[in-house]
Structures are given as C-alpha cells and as structure tokens.
C-alpha cells in the first residue's frame, strides 16, 4: 500500500514539473532590446575662443580700361562745338570733313532713335548722320549744322556747328600744346549707345 502511495506522489511531482516546464516554454518572451550605450562624456567646448576665420583672398578684378588701344599715350584731337557742347574728336579716327549739306540731301529713315539724323551720300558712300548731343541723351532742338565730321571709314558723320582747334591730350586727359587747358576726358560715355561712334568724347560743357 505504501509503495502505491509513493508511486502516486512521484507521478504527481513529475506532472507538476512537466506542467511548470510547459508554462515556461509557452510564456511570451519580451522582445530583445539592446542595452543603451553608455553615455559619452561631453567634451568641454571652449566657446570663449572662436575658431580663427580664414580669410579667402579674392582676386582683385582687373581694372577695366575704357580707353581704346589707339588712344594710349598722347592723343591728338580736333575740338569742335556742337550746340552747348565742346567735343574732342581724335584725329586718328577722323576720315574727312564735309559740308553738312541741305535737307534735300538727307534721307530720313523711319523708326530711328533721336540721334539718327538720316542717311546721306558723301563721296559715293552712304553714311549715317549722328547728332552727338542727342546721342548723349541730352535734349536738343538743333535743326541745322555746319559740318559733318566723317569717322569710322565713312560710316558715320557727326553733325557739328563749328570747329575750334587741334589739341594734344595726354594720358591723364589733360590738354596740352600751345594753349594748355584742362579737360575732363570722359571716355566711353557713348559706348553703350553706339559702339562705332566711340571715337569722340565731350571735353566739357560751357
């Protein structure tokens, strides 16, 4: 009888152990999580001493010369008067001087800018008459002119009222010669308006 009881107890203990094992195996396992990395020590930032700024040396822009190559050095010019302006026309670019002609000689093209004073034939070549005053953007009511200064191999004729004297301008823009006078030498003033007419410059207004 006691042997039977002992056997039952062993079976009971074995069943409990098995049940415990099954519960352990069937229970939910928490998801694996990596352990957080240990905090790194914060480096001491010395904010009181900013890093030195390296200056990037930009190349300096090359100076833009508005003076054409043919005008380097001393420049001989012919001073003429156009309305209230005195204009210096470099002799090196001057082709000829012609009478201004009458209105009948001039062909006025439509839809042209104010400085375009028409087309005429001079020495069997057609040229465009240019009003220097209007080319500079100044108001002008000039109707007649006395002479045409033919420039750029006869392509343009500058309308002028009177001719004064030849001068020699040094590289600084000052006038020399027998009657030295200072000039402003405003080179390139009309370049944007008419590139081919950049053979002359106003000396100063009077």
């Amino acid at each position: 009888m006691s042997e039977q009881r002992t056997g039952v107890q062993e079976l009971s203990q074995a069943g409990a152990a098995l049940e415990s094992l099954l519960e352990t195996l069937l229970s939910e396992v928490p998801e694996y999580q990596e352990a957080p990395a240990p905090a790194q020590p914060v480096a001491d930032l010395n904010v009181s001493e900013p890093l030195p700024i390296q200056e990037i040396a930009e190349p300096e822009p090359a100076p833009v010369s508005v003076r054409p190559a043919w005008a380097e050095g001393d420049l001989k010019v012919l001073v003429v008067r156009v309305g209230e302006l005195r204009v210096a026309v470099p002799l090196v670019r001057l082709s000829s001087i012609s009478p201004a002609g009458t209105g009948e000689d001039v062909l006025h093209l439509p839809a042209q800018p104010a400085w375009h004073r028409g087309v005429m034939t001079v020495r069997e070549q057609q040229l465009v008459r240019v009003d220097p005053v209007a080319l500079l953007g100044l108001a002008t009511e000039r109707q007649e002119s006395a002479y045409l200064l033919v420039i750029d191999d006869g392509r343009y004729g500058l309308e002028v009222d009177a001719m004064e004297e030849p001068l020699t301008l040094d590289s600084a823009g000052s006038a020399g010669g027998s009657r030295a006078r200072a000039g402003s030498g405003r080179w390139g003033c009309c370049r944007s308006r008419c590139a081919s007419c950049w053979t002359w410059m106003p000396l100063r207004t009077v």
């Binding site: 062909l107 093209l109 439509p110 839809a111 800018p113 087309v119 034939t121 057609q126 465009v128």
Partner: protein
C-alpha cells in the same frame, strides 16, 4: 567684256514700285504689288490694332488697309488727291497700304541696295531692307514680309 547672263545670276535686277511717305521715297518689290487704288471709303474696324486703318470692299473682297505712316512711326496726315492704297500680297494675305503717293517703277541691282546705314532699333525698323542710291536720290527699300510680325500677320487674317 561683262557677261550679262553671269551678271544676272550674281547680281540680279529687282523692280521696285516707289511711293512717297513723309517726304521720303520708299520702294517695294513689284512682285508683291497687285494694283494701286485711289482712296475710297475706308470703314474703320472697332477694336482693331492701331496700325489697321480699316477695311475696303475690293470687288466683293474685304481687304484690310494698313496705316503705313503709323506703322513707320511717322506723324499722321490727311489724305489728299495723291494718296493711294497699294494692294499687296505677302505672307499669303492680300492687304492694302496707305501711302502719300505712288511714283514709278524702278530697276535696281541687288548690289545697289546697301543695308549698312540701318543702325537703329532692329525691332522697330526690321522692315527696312536697305537704302539704294538711284540717280543721286536715295530710296528706302522695304521688305514687305517684315512689315508686320508673324503674330500681327495672323491677327490680320482674322479680319
């Protein structure tokens, strides 16, 4: 000795109908000209572009008349007995251009038309083909195809 046949190939002759406009003489290719009319009743078209003077009835066909002075940027003037409407065909359309008077038909070699003096605004004077020197008189040669822009020609076709 010059070879006329070779010269005709290298330097063709063009016939131009000349007309007057604001004291200047203009020339257009005779091949574009259909006829020249005296001024008749020109009916204005409401809402038309400024360069459109109006329309005329040409033997049952409606023809748009261009105000050439306005197109060329010239001041307007009253028409008179010498004013004419030149009917031209260009860009596939028949239109009329109002001029102060028609002069004659001249012949020019293409080499005589010099385009160099045109230095003004390319957009506003694009229709100026060049300037020709004829017997000591200067003549403005007009390219009719460029009288209006493509958009304007399309707009004209709707009248």
């Amino acid at each position: 000795m010059a070879n006329p046949a070779a010269e005709a190939v290298t330097d063709p002759v063009v016939q131009l109908v000349t007309f007057r406009l604001a004291d200047e003489t203009y020339g257009i290719n005779v091949m574009h000209v259909q006829e020249v009319l005296r001024i008749s009743e020109i009916a204005p078209v409401p809402g038309a572009p400024s360069y459109v003077l109006g329309i005329i009835n040409l033997r049952g066909n409606v023809v748009t008349v261009i105000d050439t002075r306005s197109r060329f940027g010239l001041p307007g003037t009253e028409t008179d007995d010498s004013s004419r409407i030149v009917i031209i065909e260009t860009e596939g359309q028949v239109v009329g251009i109002l001029v102060d008077g028609v002069a004659e038909v001249v012949e020019l070699h293409m080499s005589e038309i010099d385009s160099a003096p045109n230095v003004g605004n390319d957009e506003s004077s694009r229709y100026i083909q060049g300037v020709a020197n004829r017997e000591s008189d200067l003549l403005i040669v007009v390219d009719l195809n460029k009288l209006l822009t493509e958009e304007e020609w399309s707009e004209m076709s709707m009248f």
